[in-house]
Amino acid sequence: MPARSYTDVSDQQVVVFAQEGREDAYRELIKRYERPVFSLIYRMVRDKETAEDLAQETFIKVLNNIDRYRPEFKFSSWLFKIANNITIDHLRRRQVDTISIEGSPDAITAERARATAVTVTSGGESPLEELESRELGAEIEKAIAKLRPEYRACIILRHVEDYSYDEIAEIVKLPLGTVKTYIHRARQELRQYLGDLR
């Protein structure tokens, strides 16, 4: 089956192709969401290898059950929902909570720290802007890492992924009021941690 171009093809349509068993459709869905999903998971677990494993588990679970996808929902919401469930389960099992973007807290050597550090995609800025952005981003990353995992997921979905409160409530399987409370508290804590940034 020849590979086709999925430019301007909606997620729902790509899913239909995937449901027909087209490998290129599966790859397109992975290509579209590997970075958002990996980023969300990494910002919750703070370890590259663990984040990759959990992201891989997320995609495999979603794509193996692609026939169960209901098109009335956003594919990305379903994907993030599975990612959040898998990550929260992992955190409950292992209580991982670290703050370094430079590598895993478990890294006891420089080599290990390099191996577990993530690749940050450049936004095409100048070197100075990139450095400033990286510094500010690093502060934000550290501040996010100090939040409770439940807060992290909600604040990232709200402010990084631009989801509505209703969508976040659906993704994290929490009541709408709880989601609003979590996001409100997360904002307060971020304000405290990032006082110098304002």
Binding site: E34, R35, V120, S133, V160, L190, R191
Partner: protein
Amino acid sequence: MIEHDFDEDFVPIAAELQRLPYLSPSPDFADRVIAGIDRLQAPRTVAAVSASRHLELHRGGQQAVTPRRPMGVMQATGRAVAGVTLIAAAAFMFFEIDVLTAMLSAAVTQYAFAIAAVGTQVGALVLGSSAITYLQAGALQAVILYITLAVGLIAGYGAIHTAAQIAKRKAA
């Protein structure tokens, strides 16, 4: 861009959150995910088996073709005798070929078939049992063999029947 539902002092933080870059997994991430998708692996497995089967056939069919149990000399001879006996009896009953002619033709056929069976065993010793197994496994060869035998038998009995008719006419 989401609409503001927070205090003004959170605006710069919200802006920084929106500027957070996406992080990239390893380059082989997609391949590892694809390797874990059952639906995509099943056809690949079939294709791999098919390719392997094709390759193995090129290598002599030792593993790809399900080997048939080699037919023994006695079994082949027994079948030949039974077959020829039945055909000879039918020929005698319906075409009035005398017993001697029928027996002679049966003996010739039997002898030829026995030679073929012995030849198969000798071939197995010379070429190796796997080569003979491969040959025996080929359905096409088997069909050709059976058609050849059938045509040979029919032609042989036709000739014998014609000869017998001519002999009867001469005797009369």
